[in-house]
Symmetry: D2
Subunit: 384 residues, 4 copies
Amino acid sequence: MRPLRIAMIGCGFMGAAHSQGWRTAPRVFDLPAAVEMSVVVGRRADAAADAAQRWGWAGSATDWREAVGRDDVDVVDIVTPGDSHAEIAVAALEAGKHVLCEKPLANTVAEAERMAAAAERAAADGVLSMVGFTYRRVPAATLARDLVARGEIGRVQQVRACYRQDWLVDPGAPLAWRLRKEHAGSGALGDIGAHAIDMVQFITGQRVRRTTGVVDTIVEERPLPPEEQDGPDGRRTGRVTVDDVALFTGRLDSGALAAFEATRFATGRKNALTVEVSGDRGALAFDLEDLNTLRVYDRTAPEERQGFTRVLVTEPGHPYLAGWWPPGHMLGYEHGFSHQVKDLVEGVASGEPPHPSFTDGLHVQRVLDAVERSAAQDAAWADV
Amino acid sequence: MRPLRIAMIGCGFMGAAHSQGWRTAPRVFDLPAAVEMSVVVGRRADAAADAAQRWGWAGSATDWREAVGRDDVDVVDIVTPGDSHAEIAVAALEAGKHVLCEKPLANTVAEAERMAAAAERAAADGVLSMVGFTYRRVPAATLARDLVARGEIGRVQQVRACYRQDWLVDPGAPLAWRLRKEHAGSGALGDIGAHAIDMVQFITGQRVRRTTGVVDTIVEERPLPPEEQDGPDGRRTGRVTVDDVALFTGRLDSGALAAFEATRFATGRKNALTVEVSGDRGALAFDLEDLNTLRVYDRTAPEERQGFTRVLVTEPGHPYLAGWWPPGHMLGYEHGFSHQVKDLVEGVASGEPPHPSFTDGLHVQRVLDAVERSAAQDAAWADV
Amino acid sequence: MRPLRIAMIGCGFMGAAHSQGWRTAPRVFDLPAAVEMSVVVGRRADAAADAAQRWGWAGSATDWREAVGRDDVDVVDIVTPGDSHAEIAVAALEAGKHVLCEKPLANTVAEAERMAAAAERAAADGVLSMVGFTYRRVPAATLARDLVARGEIGRVQQVRACYRQDWLVDPGAPLAWRLRKEHAGSGALGDIGAHAIDMVQFITGQRVRRTTGVVDTIVEERPLPPEEQDGPDGRRTGRVTVDDVALFTGRLDSGALAAFEATRFATGRKNALTVEVSGDRGALAFDLEDLNTLRVYDRTAPEERQGFTRVLVTEPGHPYLAGWWPPGHMLGYEHGFSHQVKDLVEGVASGEPPHPSFTDGLHVQRVLDAVERSAAQDAAWADV
Amino acid sequence: MRPLRIAMIGCGFMGAAHSQGWRTAPRVFDLPAAVEMSVVVGRRADAAADAAQRWGWAGSATDWREAVGRDDVDVVDIVTPGDSHAEIAVAALEAGKHVLCEKPLANTVAEAERMAAAAERAAADGVLSMVGFTYRRVPAATLARDLVARGEIGRVQQVRACYRQDWLVDPGAPLAWRLRKEHAGSGALGDIGAHAIDMVQFITGQRVRRTTGVVDTIVEERPLPPEEQDGPDGRRTGRVTVDDVALFTGRLDSGALAAFEATRFATGRKNALTVEVSGDRGALAFDLEDLNTLRVYDRTAPEERQGFTRVLVTEPGHPYLAGWWPPGHMLGYEHGFSHQVKDLVEGVASGEPPHPSFTDGLHVQRVLDAVERSAAQDAAWADV
């Protein structure tokens, strides 16, 4: 198969992680096609050129429309902020390019719907699309999904998923764009709550159908960032217009309840995405801060020996591990981006669409929307 | 001071634990008064006599009213099921006896109100009352309270408290009295959710003022217990009329949110009461399944060395530890009952009422009630 | 069966723990005989009387010979320092009393040999003897032994056992009797290393046959205790004549190697007795600082799910648990003393000698002796 | 500065890890020089060409001598088995190339001495050399070294270091070259024990001066590998001529004792390199199976709050972290190879030799030799 030529739109933090994925996957896995990192696009020419140089892209550009239309581009990888996802993705799909789009799929349900519709149309022509919920591809998370799918924990009866960080505990942290509704859509809910929702839906194979929601802003006023101050001693402040914490409950397809928490105020928790799935034959517990392990409980084991088994997910038979190191040699955060590339390239080669689809991403968006609607109606249940 | 003479009403499981407390506290602590285990009361004479013999009570009886009225009784310890608490406690208080009442204080708010009123009247005569939320007296929990009270974690910004068990995961577990509303009042909510509420209120020094609530019954039909079957092969079943799981959110005095979960369906979790309190200077994490430790996070430490410190709460300076063993020698479940006896006896000696008061217990009852009211109104916020 | 009447010789710290065992076991377990706490013996009359009063002994005395000879005593429980064990135990055995003797059995091999010989002679008359290695009776340790005995981890191939404390890290800690060879025999080696040896022999069912040994004294000079100073500002110091740390290797019956460490200088470790047994079918890991759990590894499980299972040893089917609390309710340090009483009383009733025997205790003594001989000969292997 | 052109000699497993380091470091860190992956050398032309293609080397070759002599090569990276290290390294150094040599430096002390001498001669001309003990460059390990160097745990009083794996527990595992003395030099001792020694010396800043040693071969006879069998059903076996387990004790410069264990028979332990350093002011504990954390104990903290603090070593101020991801985003095994490249390139640019030097590597070799000499003389102390 001929090489896949990639254009990456965006050159911020997520661009570094995606580039590492594109650069590394072909060195680790036997991919059905070579990967060519053709062009990285940024608004400012110097930043884009620096990014290309640093991350290993053959060229750089400033006009995403031009890049998306190039004949020598097969895949468009979108790592810009959420408010530009829809426009870029739809254009790329219409230009017949496969699209990988960072999560969240969009900032609004309406945008996400447009994207999902475009993805469906494109699929008819064999054009693939995929949302970048990479935590699914932490091997322990994929193993969790596999175990549930094989019935090893039985019927899912209850779920908990928390994503807890603490980077806003300091009240002097400035009013960044992530804290403004007009740019970020929502706060902890959309940024990290979206991951929690995706992980629950992925691992259980079920969707959230109804939600209740409580959201709160703990620090309501923060200093404006330096560039919006009058001078170096500026003390201007602005209002935080997104949530700091979101507590919500979901009802899954089967009727099982899922408890969710997304917060940036869990002092001492840095990146603690935890998911616990309780079934009638066993249970699973995942923790992103201990990402090379999965805890598995087997209710069918002899009672005397039951307990949570701490499985080190580094054996060659574990998901994605065959390409990496020997047992006990740990993987880190960015390995998921290589796994994402692997699955996308294999999908292109086989024609089999990789998960999660834009429709999956749209559904997450709808759950987020239902949580906000519930919060606005005194926390009462809202349909997704 | 002359000895305190105790009458214990009830001789079930909690009677064993309370007896261990009465028997052990005077051997471990320098109490201001001796303790005499005078009489244990049970409905059936033989069971009461057995209990007296086994647990070390001087005598046994079947009529609690008679026992409560005895001149040679100073303290009445109530360990019966919740539906009889109010009647016994009020009678004992009116007879001028100090009362220790197992949690929950009562099955209904109305009963709890009567009890709190009686306790207040009795207090005017120097008669003390106390609710048996013993988990407060696990040294690590008391230390947590002390640290919050001294401001060591700063302003409390967010709280999580879960109490998770799994003894109902087996759908063949019989329809015991705890699963019938008429006897138990509620299910996981009142039985273990009450502990979670009390711990949060105790550790933060704040009360829950509003709640949302979702409750669910996962297994709705269960086999009747053997004594209600036609014969040894009986297959009669009955309806579970209490909750199996309760997910709720509380708003504390300060406005901080607390997320709660109480469940008997968390496969693999046996007695997992966990409380995490996040403040603007630090955080605390308690786990009843690891009860000799408290995890403490200090945001004011040098960044390079910040993390959760696993404090082994077995040093002589830790709460209640001076009476026990050297550092690193663990305490268990029942030690809290000795601490409860210590505090009650010291309270009687000093006239200083021990916590938690019946008013504290009443407030827990009101929170439980608000959760149920919220659940009945589609999970919308309800005032406590 | 008629009640067993106990005389306890010694009233220090271990007396408190033993008393708790005698007092509690009959309340928790269905023993075949009642227990009467008849008399506690101490050198000073007032201390003995206080101990009797505090711990619940019917009487007190100062002459152990008299107590040991009393007709109304059936069991002699020795909790004095090691240098008096031999004399008391032999006298008691010769008087036909069952003997429970705190570990270590004695300070020297010669004494231990005399005791073991006396125990064998007494056994012919149905008189029992037992050494107080109570950590065997932590349920998780007993379960570990059971699993090895049933072959669940296969052939034992390697063992590690460490007992680590840190109470001597402070160089200003005074020169207590435990730091003087003439009173204590040895330091960390005999005090806590003896426990590690006993646990390994108990769990594996094998004996240590050869050893190498390295011992060291880290702080060689310490302040004399206050009572040996000239006055309140005294700065007199003395030489530490026992080891602070002992590192040794043992060869077991089967040829498997066991690595041992005993230290009072492991900063931050309070009472960390850890034992890990590796077999060709699985492994076990025990930690006294997490004593309600046992970690079990099963090499025969599907590879994908292998890992250490954290078994909460609180189920009714676990050793000793039937008498205690529901699952997930923790036990502590002193519960082992109740289990010891249970096994001793049942042994007396059945005539079946409880473990560990004086011969077992003698063997531990011989291992300690071999370690010291090895250390004296440049760490070269020494036979036990 | 002009680019550094690299030749890598060897294309086995370690080649993959080194390649990842060369490829990634310039993308993550601001290096003072560019890196060009010029040529990879392997014995077989096809394997070398495949490796070049897969790992991103510009070319491949089969003659290491030719590659080492090329004018357009600045750095020689040696990842061959240990028995060829000396010859290649000395030739490269004499050709004026900087050398990075995988650990262990060599199979024998004599070889290592030749290499260290060549490195010293080359250093006079500004040619650098470095041994690939990459675990030093796990950020948590580097932080441990920093904390010790700054006196934060005070005087080091005791050390433990274990490296435990279990890949030989299966007696049917074939007699690979690593199990034959003629190829591997030694077994667990040299392969993983060397890491343990290096980590202790690195973190404490001290060297091991004397050792005792016990080594053992648990499974003495194993099936020959398929290529040495007569046919597919061959049952020929051969003798294991290296150690499976090594238990040894080291005496450090300061006189402190270090306990070591290296084993391939610790059932359930995959890659468990653990180091615990106990000082008179605190302690540190590192675990390669939990490599993003360091546990730190501070004896100078208020007693009530002392405990091991689990530091998540992912903050921007932690060693090497500035180039990577936000806090709480984990690193894995291969990140150390990027850190190694960073330090080597910076060393070349500055002229400051990076650690560990060939002399450091030689010292590790001498410690291994002393352990083997001790083992041969009945475990008695041997000087390094």
